[in-house]
């Protein structure tokens, strides 16, 4: 089994990604499990995935687990030492005067680290019986740029799992053949696995299928002459 460094080198040697760039990054794992992962640039992800599946040495033909992780905006406060002019009023021989001197003071600065959503895939090889190779991708943010390329065309087992990520985390997989909610009902609006999700008070409320909900529900049904789903006349 190759290490993540060797896999990264193999991906770059195969010319799938421009070499020297940040298209494939190694993410180290501090846990004793020692399962390090590769972060892929979404622009090259499908090509890299194809390479990982088809390369004779790796032949990662089995995508075992696909899941999402939510990393919300993080407010980081750090203490920094700054040197700046400080003006003080001091008693001089000719009364009070203003004196300015350079002083070093400690200041707390806050900045927000923007959050993102992450998709994590665990790959194994059934042919070579090795694994796991872990690949992950990040979205740009958590609100309006949440698209990632779907790996379902490479590994069919991502089909339901990516639907689940879409449902619970809200990552939109472009190129997925059938992207719709899988566990929550069709009329549901939010993404419950996000860390800032708040349960509604009436969480047992379930819209009955009529009006707008019915229209949405019908979009997922097989087309039929009778929209209520009764036998075709």
């Amino acid at each position: 089994m190759k290490t993540v460094e060797e896999i990264k080198a193999a991906i770059e040697a195969a010319g799938v990604v421009p070499s020297g760039g940040a298209a494939v990054e190694i993410v180290h794992n501090g846990s004793p499990s020692g399962q390090h992962s590769l972060r892929l640039d979404p622009a090259y992800a499908v090509e890299v995935a194809k390479f990982l599946r088809d390369d004779a040495d790796l032949s990662l033909d089995f995508l075992s687990n696909a899941t999402g992780v939510d990393w919300p905006d993080k407010e980081i406060s750090e203490k920094v030492k700054v040197t700046r002019p400080v003006t003080r009023t001091v008693d001089g021989p000719e009364g009070k005067v203003e004196e300015t001197s350079e002083e070093t003071v400690e200041e707390t600065r806050k900045h927000t680290q923007p959050g993102y959503l992450e998709a994590v895939y665990h790959l194994f090889s059934m042919a070579k019986k090795h694994g796991p190779v872990i690949i992950r991708m990040r979205t740009v943010n958590r609100s309006d740029q949440v698209e990632l390329p779907s790996l379902t065309p490479i590994w069919r087992s991502a089909e339901f799992q990516e639907r689940e990520i879409f449902d619970l985390f809200g990552i939109v997989f472009t190129g997925h053949p059938d992207l719709r909610r899988i566990l929550m009902w069709d009329g549901f609006k939010d993404h419950p696995m996000r860390r800032d999700y708040v349960d509604p008070d009436d969480f047992e409320y379930e819209p009955t299928p009529h009006d707008e909900v019915l229209l949405r529900a019908n979009a997922h049904r097989a087309a039929s002459a009778s929209p209520e789903g009764t036998a075709a006349r």
Binding site: N29, S33, S64, P132, T152, R156, H220, A223, S224
Partner: protein, 395 residues
């Protein structure tokens, strides 16, 4: 109404779709297309599960599984509690095989925190996991026969044996189904000598049960007529679709995580991995019966070799358990397939991310592929041969 026929053909497979190479690109229908919602309250669905089926006469031209009726967001719940507090919740995933689920979570957390497990606890885990496998395979075969129309009796043969094993679980863990037995770094309580003797007795009677089960069912004309050559799943598709467990091995792919990962102490036991030849329902049913026999073999070896000693690692920390920041993915060969837990720790007492890789859900990905072109009555059998539990599909 030719329009409805055409739309079915278009929606079944979108033209740019590369996946599913045993799925026909267009489904040609001869007559009217009839939509049937099988479930959520249907006796064959093993719980609340719906299949939206489009039928051309008796033939299935489209099938969409719909689930989520039992969804309680187990993952979210687990992220709000300590690692150990999710242990009883894992019993409720696949409630037939609670001890395999316990082991999967324990294994992942042990990987995450780098914990050791004492010898005796390893043996106890193997014994309990294999007993669970026997319970699952016997009852899933029993259910399959029931779905074929043999109401009650064959299932009761399986359940008679299951009762004996559940009594053993109750004696050891205090509960028949919700066992909550394993801990990070060992097991909760030690097994007494009397319990081991009782287990030996039950295991000694199991080969006769397997013989009886096989004699009654395998050469049965109806079973053969209904199962052979139906619901074929090609190995290439099975691998690509992430199918695991007996369903994968019935498609002829030699992949058993007990053999691949050697987790626990599985490298010490001699057992074979049964594989299917024809990739149909009958093979799945036979693979389960043969695996049941192999499990009996593992049990005999484990019960012979089990050493004395502690069942809990003395260094294992129960209170104030905070693994170092990092992540781990651990998996076991549960009776239904690969059950994995993916955990991310941020150094706190609760997991930052807790993910269950449910074999039942992922094995359903190819349900439509297996059912297309088959009769509606066979859908029930094909679905039964996948062997799912809705508690795990919906989580």
């Amino acid at each position: 109404m030719s329009t409805s026929i055409n739309t079915v053909a278009e929606t079944a497979v979108s033209p740019e779709r590369e996946v599913g190479w045993n799925r026909p690109r267009t489904v040609e229908t001869e007559g009217e297309v009839l939509e049937v919602a099988m479930g959520p309250h249907h006796p064959s669905t093993h719980g609340v599960f719906r299949m939206d089926v489009a039928l051309d006469g008796e033939r299935v031209v489209r099938l969409k599984p719909v689930f989520g009726y039992l969804h309680r967001n187990h993952e979210k719940l687990a992220e709000g509690m300590t690692y150990l507090a999710s242990m009883p919740f894992t019993d409720r995933l696949d409630y037939i095989c609670s001890l395999s689920n316990n082991w999967a979570l324990a294994l992942s957390v042990e990987k995450l925190a780098g914990q050791e497990v004492p010898e005796r606890a390893q043996y106890l885990r193997v014994i309990l996991a294999e007993l669970t496998r026997i319970v699952n395979h016997a009852s899933s075969v029993g259910f399959l026969i029931q779905e074929m129309g043999a109401s009650g009796t064959p299932l009761m043969y399986a359940f008679r044996e299951r009762e004996k094993i559940l009594d053993l679980f109750e004696a050891l863990t205090g509960s028949r189904m919700m066992c909550n037995y394993m801990r990070f770094g060992g097991c909760r309580v030690d097994a007494s000598a009397a319990w081991l003797d009782a287990t030996r007795k039950v295991v000694a009677a199991l080969p006769a049960f397997a013989d009886e089960f096989e004699r009654f069912l395998c050469s049965n004309e109806i079973v053969m007529a209904r199962c052979q050559g139906v619901g074929i799943l090609k190995p290439e598709l099975a691998i690509n679709a992430g199918v695991t467990g007996p369903l994968l091995r019935a498609s002829g792919v030699n992949y058993d995580i007990r053999k691949v990962d050697h987790y626990g102490i599985y490298d010490r036991f001699k057992f074979r991995v049964p594989l299917g030849d024809h990739w149909d329902i009958y093979d799945r049913f036979m693979v389960r019966l043969l695996e049941l026999r192999e499990s009996i073999g593992i049990l005999e070896q484990a019960l012979k070799d089990i050493p004395a000693g502690p069942v809990m690692d003395a260094k294992a920390k129960i209170r104030g358990f905070r693994p170092k920041p990092g992540e781990a993915y651990g998996r076991v060969e549960a009776p239904k397939g690969e059950l994995g837990f993916y955990l991310i720790s941020d150094g706190g007492p609760n997991p930052y991310r807790y993910r269950v890789r449910p074999p039942s859900l992922i094995n359903l990905t190819i349900l439509e592929d297996m059912c297309l072109g088959e009769n509606l009555a066979d859908v029930v059998l094909i679905f039964g041969s996948v062997d799912i539990v809705l508690g795990e599909v919906d989580r």
